[in-house]
């Protein structure tokens, strides 16, 4: 079907990391995850 692939068409579009953000992300995610777990373990009513 797509044997004659257009040379200009990318097979994969990666998202390059910007230095420094991975650390921020890990910290924010860990804290949020723990906080969320804490909230959801409370009774809802």
């Amino acid at each position: 079907m797509k044997t004659n692939k257009d040379k200009s068409e990318l097979m994969e579009l990666k998202h390059d990391p910007v230095p420094g953000y991975k650390g921020i992300f890990s910290v924010v995610f860990t804290v949020s995850l723990l906080y969320m777990a804490f909230i959801l373990f409370q009774p809802c009513f």
């Binding site: 200009s8 990318l10 994969e12 998202h15 990391p17 991975k22």
Partner: protein
């Protein structure tokens, strides 16, 4: 009522006349059809019209109440918008099929009995398949055929259900059914196929991205929403719908995150939005049914708008994969703006249309969970909240970001044609209008509305939810964790019939073909060797006899070889001296006689 016309007929007959018009008159005529239809509709009083007696059946072709009116209005509005959108395509097949399809949807919504509902339901399938096939690519033809097969099956299930229901109850009225007995279950599942319930859904994500640019806009509006209407009419308050709806809202967002074809991303988010409506119908309170209907109304507009913006991108660049797009805000700023309005509406940003309708379903689920025996609604609420965050993530951010911003793919194209921009502009205006001033929409809903979306807590909580979803996207993207866009195919439930169909074919191919070849080899082998044997059987027997005689007579080596060759040739060519020939023949006959 005597001088009103059946709304479906205005669209269908009006549509069939389109090819007789030319040029500017054609454009004006096409835009007039929904307008005339709308004027006709608002002049029909509430109640049943166009009653027909068809032997024992009492058919009601036009049943007008608040529920059917709401869907009728939005169908007229989206038909007008879509017609403006496709004016530049000059494709009569698309025009006629589009109007036929919209007319069928109107017919189904206004049908007052199950039989005429079924007839229009089937017409819906025909119209939509034409819109898919009008794309004329090989993959569109294949997926159109699959679409047709699935819907033909769904139609049969529905018909069987209606027949059983009629024999059980003797009634064809479009009234609330309870799930009891095979008839009601079959009707339930038959509608569910068109509603894209999980596992029954892949026809949608398979076919919608393959349809024509305008066809997809038409498709996104009618089939699933007509099914939502039918559920709201026939099965309000059916608890199974809550859990079906929850599954619909949750699973497509995962697929949408890794899907590369942006129109397929929208198809997945369409299922996700219909999930909210199905939950609302399942809860069955006045608030939740109002919410489901209002959300259907809004979804037709913002999903249409998103499909129109992606259609414009496809029209100008010829590409629709996220891997091939990006940076288009530079050359298509208006389309980008309208797309963002659609994205904000589907994500339910305050001041945009999704905000005033989706929250009604959420609120109904949350307040329902306080009632005795409905504690599990807490889970419903949590999953819907998860889905609300997720929908912003994939439809609200992914679509505009990968098409119009992000990595610049280098397309330098013209802005979308004027008629497309006008169509998108109208839809965008309506999204913002309903979002900021929801009262007119609330007045149209089936039940009286006592709901205020713009409270401080609601605005603040929704804004928090969305901004932090955006934060998640931003941080994931910047830290390089966000999954790469990959040209690939993600298998879904259609694997069941697409691959097992092929597998069956392969199994038959693997078993039957070798068997066939093997039999053929045996037959050929036997026949061939028999033929070989009889070709020179006489000569060989003669040689056998003669060589023994010659050996006794003392012939050896070269001499013997020459004599053998001569005899063999003589027998095969029939150049044997008559006497020897006769002798050999008699010997041969005698030999056979002795052997037998």
């Amino acid at each position: 009522m005597t001088n009103s016309i059946l709304p479906a007929l205005i669209f269908m007959i009006g549509g069939f006349m389109i090819p007789f018009f030319r040029g500017r008159a054609k454009s004006i005529y096409m835009m007039l059809i929904p307008v005339v239809g709308f004027i006709n509709l608002i002049n029909i009083p509430m109640g049943d019209h166009f009653l027909m007696n068809f032997s024992d059946f009492k058919l009601v072709l036009l049943h007008i109440d608040r529920l059917s009116l709401l869907f009728g209005y939005i169908y007229h509005i989206i038909a007008l918008i879509t017609v403006i959108y496709i004016l530049n395509f000059k494709n009569d097949v698309e025009y006629v099929a589009g109007f036929f399809y919209a007319g069928a949807a109107l017919g189904a919504v206004y049908a007052g009995d199950l039989f005429s509902f079924f007839i229009f339901w089937e017409m819906l399938t025909i119209g939509s398949v034409m819109l898919i096939w009008a794309r004329k690519t090989k993959s569109a033809q294949a997926s159109g055929l699959r679409y047709l097969l699935v819907h033909a099956f769904g139609g049969l299930v529905l018909l069987a259900g209606i027949v059983l229901h009629f024999t059980e109850t003797g009634s064809l009225e479009m009234l609330k059914l309870t799930l009891s007995g095979p008839g009601s279950y079959l009707i339930f599942v038959g509608i569910g196929i068109n509603c894209a319930w999980p596992v029954l859904h892949p026809w949608l994500t398979d076919a919608y991205p393959e349809a024509t640019i305008g066809g997809t806009v038409f498709l996104s509006a009618f089939t699933t929403k007509t099914a939502v209407y039918a559920l709201a009419r026939l099965f309000p308050g059916t608890e199974a719908l809550i859990w079906i709806g929850v599954a619909m809202a949750a699973f497509p967002i995962f697929y949408a995150v890794i899907e590369n074809d942006l129109r397929r991303v929208l198809a997945y988010s369409l299922i996700n939005q219909v999930g909210f409506m199905v939950v609302g119908i399942g809860i069955g309170t006045e608030l939740s049914i109002n919410g489901a209907c209002a959300h259907a109304f809004n979804d037709i507009l913002f999903k249409g708008l998103l499909f129109m913006s992606m259609g414009a991108v496809l029209y100008r660049t010829g590409k629709i994969n996220a891997t091939d797009l990006g940076g288009l805000y530079k050359s298509m700023p208006w389309t980008a703006l309208f797309c963002c309005v659609g994205a904000a509406s589907i994500s339910a940003f305050p001041l945009f249309s999704g905000f005033v309708s989706k929250s009604m379903v959420m609120e109904a689920a949350a307040s329902g969970s306080h009632l005795a025996g409905q504690k599990s609604y807490v889970v419903v609420w949590l999953v819907l909240l998860f889905a609300s965050a997720g929908v912003f993530h994939h439809a609200g951010i992914k679509i505009p970001f990968f098409a119009f911003f992000g990595h610049d793919a280098g397309h330098r194209v013209k802005e979308a044609p004027l008629n497309m921009l006008i169509a998108m502009g109208i839809a965008a205006f309506l999204c913002i209008f309903i979002g900021t001033y929801p009262k007119p929409l609330y007045n149209l809903l089936p039940f009286a509305v006592d709901y205020h979306p713009y409270t401080i807590s609601h605005v603040l909580s929704q804004t928090e939810l969305l901004f932090f979803s955006a934060l998640a996207f931003t941080l994931l993207l910047l830290s390089g964790i966000y999954p790469a866009e990959i040209r690939a195919l993600n298998v879904d439930a259609d694997w069941i019939y697409r691959k097992t169909g092929k597998a069956l074919y392969r199994i038959f191919d693997a078993v039957l073909n070798p068997l066939n070849a093997w039999c053929e080899r045996i037959v050929r082998g036997v026949a061939g060797s028999t033929a070989d044997f009889f070709k020179d059987a006489g000569a060989k027997i003669s040689l056998f006899v003669a060589v023994n005689i010659w050996l006794l007579a003392g012939y050896r080596d070269k001499h013997l070889e020459i004599k053998k060759q001569k005899l063999y040739n003589d027998i095969l060519q029939g150049t044997l001296p008559a006497g020897i020939g006769a002798a050999v023949t008699i010997t041969f006959i005698l030999l056979i006689y002795v052997l037998i």
